[in-house]
Symmetry: C2
Amino acid sequence: MDQPVDSLPEILPPLPGQRLGRGVCRGLRALDFVCVEELVPAPGLRVDVMALGPKGEVWVVECKSGRADYRADRKWAGYLDWCDRFFWAVDAAFPVDLLPEGTGLILADPYDAEVVRMAPEVTLSPARRKVVLRTFARTAAARLQGLRDPGFVGDVRFF
Amino acid sequence: MDQPVDSLPEILPPLPGQRLGRGVCRGLRALDFVCVEELVPAPGLRVDVMALGPKGEVWVVECKSGRADYRADRKWAGYLDWCDRFFWAVDAAFPVDLLPEGTGLILADPYDAEVVRMAPEVTLSPARRKVVLRTFARTAAARLQGLRDPGFVGDVRFF
């Protein structure tokens, strides 16, 4: 209790993938992208990070804490349909040769991240982009309200 | 310090207009709208509440705490170009006869709100809607990151 404020331990997200996600969100901010974590673009899908760029670019980033985490992911190919570019985010110890071609690569830790291989661009259709942007906006605003006004328990439907 | 948790005083926003805004955001949630407060749709403009509906509807709500607050507002007509529907939000004591025709009316207090007169719809052009939705999404996500990751001081440009 007598610990000075500036030596208080930082609160890190609990899971390794979430810690990478935090660094990804920080790092993408330097590219003027804003992020929403654990976003559900459609029922049954949940992306680790969806990022929205200054011109409306939509990137999806899947954070993998290690080989086992990557091997267990059977859904990632389904995320390609929900973004203009798809990236993996891994830490420096990750065996990057495992990762499939045609995907982007972000090197991350809990504090920052850097795009080391740009993903190829496959642009969303206008109709799909509209849906994605709306879902992103509604998810972010609903969570923001939850944090700003914790006394209110509301509900929001996305689909 | 010995106060039981359930009797802790609730923290209300400091300004009367912000307190109405909180109630507006709560009340619009019942209509499945999500809200961002104090949103800047374009340089020099700042709306009290922008709300995004389940089908992408964009509403703007200006919160007026009293006659003087309303009389001092010289910008509201400029907000009409940034939404599909425009509303005033006031409390039960407000002299509603002051309000111009052709606008919607929401009766609010810090805890809830109700639409008592629907605003006429003047739909945004597709190009303008795209800009508005992007600004809404980026503002919400940037603020959400600020609350979730307070240790990070990032910056975001909206224009």
